[in-house]
């Protein structure tokens, strides 16, 4: 009897372990394929030249620049709005109706499919606000998509700041804003930073929201202004893989671009993860 229970437990635990292993294996497999096949495509030229010969040769510099540009616009729009919203929710608001509504908005915004953001960006930024297909329109669309992530992360970080700090500051005759600016925000900063990096990394890898708002098939020029259209890494992969002039012959370019995108996104993520675990260690001491 006792042995049977033990055996059943052993089998189940093995299955659970296998499930976890399977996830790791799947991730590894994808990364391995991209890495091993993309590696040969990477060269100095690949990183510093524009695509040539109907995008069957050359490099991906405009895509790298475009993706970075989109991220910058996203950061500039989403970070202030996201952090300020989190501050309002965590520091100022009570439990009123407005807060319930705001939270409902954030939760549902987080669930909106990425292509719907794309549709909205097209109808609103590109057409109504007359931005056209541009860095600004694409970046703002991504910013709205990223907003819930940044708000969530910032709120989490603000929550880890002990209330005793706030009370001590207020008890000394500091206003609430002084308390937030000088005590709460500095203490929450590392958490906000890591959360924001995670949010931005997600924006960097998104395709659907920028397909019709910011990214184009091909433009050899680097953007001069935020109203220029750009190329972007994720969209470039999609284009080469599905609609290129010669899909089979440009496989190495596709793998190469995918590799650059993965390195960019994972690089940001790993930075955030490492930052965070350092922070946690520091908190424990």
């Amino acid at each position: 009897m006792k042995n049977r229970r033990k055996t059943v437990q052993k089998i189940w635990f093995l299955l659970l372990r296998l499930a976890a292993l399977l996830n790791g294996a799947a991730l590894l497999l994808i990364v391995y394929f991209i890495l091993s096949r993309g590696f040969t495509a990477i060269s100095w030229e690949f990183l510093t030249k524009a695509p040539e010969n109907s995008m069957t040769e050359g490099g991906i510099l405009p895509c790298i620049a475009g993706t970075i540009g989109l991220c910058l616009v996203t950061i500039m729009a989403a970070l202030p709005i996201g952090i300020a919203s989190a501050i309002y929710l965590n520091e100022y608001s009570g439990k009123g109706k407005i807060v319930r509504i705001i939270r409902l908005g954030i939760n549902n915004l987080a669930g909106v499919p990425s292509i719907v953001f794309g549709l909205f960006g097209l109808a609103f930024f590109c057409i109504v606000l007359d931005m056209g297909v541009s860095l600004a329109a694409g970046g703002l669309t991504l910013a709205i998509m990223t907003l819930p992530v940044i708000i969530g992360a910032s709120e989490e970080a603000l929550k880890t700041v002990p209330d005793t700090y706030r009370e001590a500051s207020l008890a000394m005759g500091a206003t609430q804003w002084q308390t937030i600016r000088k005590i709460v925000l500095p203490a929450a900063f590392p958490g906000i930073l890591t959360g924001s990096i995670l949010g931005i990394s997600r924006a960097a890898g998104e395709t659907a929201p920028i397909m019709y708002t910011g990214a184009v098939f091909f433009t050899p020029n680097l953007p001069d202004s935020i109203f220029d259209e750009v190329m972007a890494l994720p969209y470039h992969i999609y284009v080469l893989a599905t609609a290129g002039t010669n899909i089979e012959a440009t496989r190495h370019l596709q793998y190469g671009t995918a590799l650059v995108l993965i390195v960019l996104v994972f690089g940001m993520n790993l930075t955030a993860i490492i930052l965070r675990s350092k922070m946690r260690k520091k908190l424990r001491i």
Partner: protein, 253 residues
């Protein structure tokens, strides 16, 4: 005479939502004297203390009735500026809570937020406050090190210094020594006696001996009500009520 009333409450009721935590509390606090609040856990001492600098305002759903006066001013009047009230009525908390900043910056913080920019002046006041709180000698070499590196007792004295820096008229202390060892506690007690000549102190404590040692007046709370208040000596030697006697002799609570 010198028995000015610095602060007083009259018929003060306090509610957390529907729960009444304080009922009809009337106390007068004499200027430059130490008043101790004692009573069993949960009787509303902290709540009362936090009414006096409106720290409870931070909690949603609270309600206050009755009068709470700082000198001639009703502190719950809508025209009252909570921020300057809190500067005048300082607070020291149960657990030492220095900011994660340097020792110097911890003290300077209150000055800066209150609009003082003059560096030399700030330095002078920092030194003065640390001396007042009897911790200057221990920290003068390490003013630019993190305050979190101090011992618990030192941290608490730093917090007292921090509260003193903005020159409050009243100092509220909520069990300031309960997280400390006996030696650190003794230092805090000495400090309280020393400070009592300069400002009005209201201290919550669970420790009868401590109340007896440091305070001039003692108020005994029970279940949200003020049961008895008197000169500390009288209250501890000849309590009027049986309830008070039971508590201070340790028969319940």
């Amino acid at each position: 005479m010198g028995h000015n009333i610095k602060m007083h409450t009259k018929g003060l009721d306090f509610f957390y939502g529907d729960f009444q935590a304080l009922e009809n509390i009337s106390i007068e606090f004499i200027e430059n004297r130490v008043t101790a609040l004692i009573g069993p856990s949960g009787c509303g001492k902290s709540t009362y203390l936090r009414c006096l600098n409106r720290m409870n305002d931070l909690i949603p759903g609270i309600r206050v009735n009755g009068l709470a006066m700082l000198e001639q001013e009703d502190i719950y009047e809508s025209s009252v500026d909570v921020v300057s009230l809190r500067r005048r009525v300082g607070m020291v908390f149960q657990k030492p809570n220095p900011f994660p900043k340097t020792i110097f910056e911890n003290i300077a913080y209150g000055l800066r937020v209150n609009g003082l920019k003059d560096k030399a002046k700030i330095t002078t006041i920092v030194e003065k406050s640390l001396k007042q709180a009897a911790i200057w000698d221990e920290v003068k070499e390490r003013l630019n090190e993190s305050a979190l590196g101090l011992s618990g007792g030192q941290q608490q004295r730093l917090c007292i210094a921090r509260a003193l820096a903005v020159d409050p008229e009243v100092l509220l202390m909520d069990e300031p020594a309960s997280a400390l060892d006996p030696i650190a506690t003794q230092k805090i007690e000495e400090l309280i006696s020393f400070l009592s000549s300069q400002l009005t102190i209201i201290i919550v404590t669970h420790n009868m001996q401590q109340a007896a040692r440091v305070s001039d007046k003692t108020a005994f709370f029970y279940m949200g009500k003020l049961i008895e208040m008197n000169d500390t000596d009288t209250l501890f030697t000849r309590p009027e009520l049986k309830q008070t006697e039971d508590y201070i002799t340790g028969r319940f609570g």
